[in-house]
C-alpha cells in the first residue's frame, strides 16, 4: 500500500508483489526494481507489516499487508 507522495512515485495505491519469506532489504530490492522512483525516498520511508511498524529483522510473507509509510504529518 502506498500513501501520500509515494502514490505518485509508484503510480498506484495498492499493488501485489510475489515476496515470500524475505527480509526488509530483500523486499526493498524488489520494490525498487518494480518502482525505481521509490529508491530516492527509501531513507525516509518506514515499512509496516499488517498494520504495525516492521521490526529490523521482520520477515515478510506473501499473505502480509505491507504499507510504505513516508514521513507523517498529522495533527
Amino acid at each position: 500500500m502506498f500513501f501520500a507522495q509515494l502514490r505518485e512515485a509508484a503510480g498506484a495505491v495498492v499493488a501485489e508483489i510475489d515476496a515470500d519469506a524475505v527480509d526488509a532489504g530483500q523486499l526493498w530490492t524488489m520494490l525498487e526494481e518494480r518502482w525505481p522512483r521509490l529508491a530516492a525516498q527509501r531513507d525516509t520511508v518506514r515499512l509496516a507489516r499488517n498494520g504495525a511498524y516492521a521490526l529490523e529483522d521482520e520477515i515478510f510473507r506473501n499473505s502480509d499487508e505491507v504499507a510504505l509509510i513516508p514521513p507523517v504529518s498529522g495533527g
Binding site: F3, A4, A48, G51, Y53, I69, G74, G75
Partner: protein, 125 residues
C-alpha cells in the same frame, strides 16, 4: 485508562461538555485547527489522508506507552480526514486525569508522538 480513537471525515467540534467521573480533577481538551497559512503561503484548506486502521492502532499503542509516565483516567483522540477548511478542527484530544500535571504531560507527549509515528499525512487541498 479508557481510550477512544476515531479517524474519520466527521466534522469535529471543540469544547464539549466538561465533566468527569468524579475521579478526575483535571479535564484538558485540545483542538488543532487549520491555519490560513502553510509554509508562508495562504491556503484555504488542508487535506488529511490516513492509513486509518494503523492510525487507530498506533495511537492506542502510543497512549498505552505514555500511560506509564502520565497515568490518566481517559483519553479521547479524534482526527479528521479529507478536506478540512481553514478555521476547522483537524484533531481533538480530550484527557481526564486526577491532576493537571499528568493531563498536560500526556497531551504534550502524545502530540509529539503523533507527529512522528501516526500514519496521517496532510497536503494542500
Amino acid at each position: 485508562m479508557r481510550i477512544e480513537v476515531e479517524v474519520s471525515d466527521r466534522l469535529l467540534c471543540a469544547a464539549g461538555a466538561i465533566g468527569s467521573d468524579g475521579v478526575s480533577g483535571a479535564v484538558v481538551e485540545f483542538a488543532g485547527v487549520v491555519r490560513a497559512e502553510e509554509h508562508g503561503r495562504a491556503i484555504e484548506a488542508l487535506y488529511y489522508e490516513a492509513y486509518e486502521e494503523m492510525a487507530r492502532s498506533q495511537t492506542e499503542k502510543i497512549l498505552r506507552e505514555l500511560e506509564r509516565r502520565f497515568p490518566c483516567q481517559a483519553v479521547r483522540v479524534l482526527h479528521r480526514t479529507g478536506r478540512v477548511p481553514v478555521g476547522e478542527v483537524a484533531i481533538l484530544v480530550r484527557i481526564e486525569a486526577k491532576h493537571r500535571a499528568e493531563a498536560f504531560g500526556m497531551l504534550s507527549a502524545f502530540m509529539d508522538r503523533l507527529k512522528q509515528d501516526v500514519p496521517i499525512w496532510k497536503s494542500l487541498a
